[in-house]
């Protein structure tokens, strides 16, 4: 398993064209040595402090998700403030499609990490996956953090997967919502994938 360097990433993007990262707003700045910088998208799902005492994924009706989550859309360059210990779902602005022979890890950028921002907990991206990555944003620090839509927020480190998958898991398994526009809601994923009795 080898990490793709800048040259290999460029070859996959512009030569072989089997790796898709769309759009690249700043190709020169975003493709770094060994990683692609991904930017923060414009759609967020913010949990509401509602009348619900707790979230029980096994008992929750899908249609009730909206009752404790608010969807918001901002313009590029607008900001969202994440208060201490606040959690929000965001998504990368870039849409990714990995070929069957590449997998990836999403990592925090260290400057944000030092400020106390955690950007993802499920950081592995399967070979063949496609969609906009959902980011589980959480401010672990003690002061609010201002996040700019469109600013580089995380890094995608690409690795070769061997042997390549015959068929990628794809984004279109409709037991999960598609991650194209709004980030995927927390409970839908947890609730539907966790086996009963676990």
């Amino acid at each position: 398993m080898a990490v793709l360097t800048q040259l290999a990433i460029r070859r996959r993007l512009f030569g072989v064209k089997d790796l898709k990262v769309k759009p690249l707003l700043d190709p020169e700045g975003q493709i770094e040595e060994g990683a692609i910088n991904l930017t923060l998208g414009t759609k967020f799902v913010i949990p509401k402090k509602s009348e619900y005492p707790l979230i029980d994924p096994r008992k929750l009706d899908k249609n009730e998700v909206a009752k404790f989550q608010t969807k918001i859309t901002l313009a590029l360059g607008q900001t969202i403030s994440l208060h201490p210990h606040q959690f929000a779902l965001g998504a990368t602005f870039e849409f990714l499609k990995l070929p069957p022979n590449l997998c990836a890890f999403v990592l925090s950028r260290s400057s944000f990490g030092r400020a106390g921002l955690q950007i993802a907990t499920a950081t592995y991206v399967h070979p063949g996956w496609q969609g906009c990555l959902t980011l589980e944003l959480q401010n672990l620090g003690e002061v609010p953090i201002r996040l700019y839509c469109g600013s580089p927020i995380c890094q995608l480190v690409l690795l070769e997967a061997h042997p390549p998958l015959k068929k990628g898991p794809g984004m279109f398994r409709r037991d999960k919502p598609v991650q194209v526009f709004f980030p995927v809601c927390l409970v839908l994923e947890v609730g539907e994938n966790r086996p009963q009795g676990n």
């Binding site: 512009f14 030569g15 064209k17 898709k20 769309k22 759009p23 690249l24 707003l25 700043d26 190709p27 414009t42 590029l76 360059g77 602005f93 849409f95 499609k97 950028r109 260290s110 400057s111 944000f112 496609q130 906009c132 700019y148 839509c149 469109g150 600013s151 580089p152 794809g170 984004m171 279109f172 398994r173 409709r174 037991d175 598609v178 194209v180 526009f181």
Partner: protein, 291 residues
């Protein structure tokens, strides 16, 4: 409206109204001589014999003509701006309300509008052998369908308005061509930009941009290219998107349309942002971070 990508297309018709009022295209078409042809004169006489005062016939008919002309100008504007995308958006809408819906005082009937749009698409080259085959075949089917329909409204006043506009349809089309977009969406524009975007969409990738000929720069997709890509995929290749979806067979179509909608909305937003970023080289709408 804002959460359905395919439903963004009728906005071009509304834009046509705005351009019409701004550039006063309707003034180049109106006033129209109501009883110009022999058929119109006969119809006016029959209405007068039935007890309608002649002045009232003309006044009512003029009002209908004015409203219909403005609607048809907006249709022609949208067709010239977006080509087949607007046509398909309209026929799907019309099929939902009923293709044989009668004309109203405010709007001509769907068949009258479809007939005029097909004429304009023909003028843009979409019925020629050089046009994309799927589009050409589908438009020819619509052309055959419209030949079997009765265009004339049942209502005698509207019938009179229809005849008056029909006599002046060439003048109407000329006025829109002269005053609408200087770059009509002809077959060349479609063939250059849309098939590549449709290929992306069929693979489940939002049609945001394409690499230029040298392969070093991303060219953001135009809004009308994205709409044409969306409608082409919707009309001719939804099965390819359905094949990408793993769900119950009975849910596939609905899920594919939802996915198409998500992908196209993403493309509309991201292509516009990419265009803005490329227009401001070196400037970014966000502060740079140290790492």
């Amino acid at each position: 409206m804002h959460d359905s990508a395919l439903n963004l297309t009728p906005l071009l018709h509304e834009l046509g109204h705005f351009v019409d009022f701004d550039r006063e295209i309707y003034k180049r078409v109106l006033p129209i001589d109501i009883a110009h042809s022999k058929a119109s004169k006969t119809l006016v006489n029959s209405l007068v014999r039935r007890g309608s005062p002649e002045q009232e016939v003309y006044a009512l008919c003029k009002d209908i003509v004015r409203k219909w002309v403005q609607e048809l100008i907006a249709d022609l504007f949208a067709i010239r701006l977006a080509g087949p995308a607007y046509f398909y958006a309209f026929v799907i809408y019309a099929a939902n309300i009923g293709l044989d819906t009668e004309a109203a005082v405010s709007h001509p009937s769907p068949v009258i509008r479809i007939d005029l749009m097909l004429e304009e698409l023909g003028e843009l080259g979409y019925l020629l052998k050089t046009s994309p085959r799927a589009i050409r075949s589908s438009l020819q089917r619509w052309k055959r369908w419209i030949r079997r329909r009765k265009l004339e409204p049942e209502d005698p006043f509207m019938h009179l308005a229809f005849l008056a506009i029909k006599d002046n349809s060439a003048k109407l089309a000329r006025s829109v061509r002269k005053n609408a977009s200087p770059r009509p969406y002809g077959t060349q524009a479609y063939k250059e930009n849309v098939p590549g975007l449709v290929a992306d969409l069929e693979e489940g990738i939002p049609p945001i941009d394409r690499l230029d000929a040298e392969g070093g720069r991303y060219v953001p997709s135009d809004f009308v290219d994205v709409l044409n890509c969306a409608w082409s995929a919707y009309m001719f290749s939804m099965n390819k998107l359905e094949d990408l979806i793993e769900c119950k067979p009975e849910d596939k179509r609905r899920m594919a349309v939802r996915t198409l909608n998500d992908l196209v909305l993403k493309a509309v937003e991201a292509s516009e942002i990419l265009r803005k970023c490329q227009a401001l080289p070196g400037e970014k709408p966000w502060p740079s971070s140290p790492n």
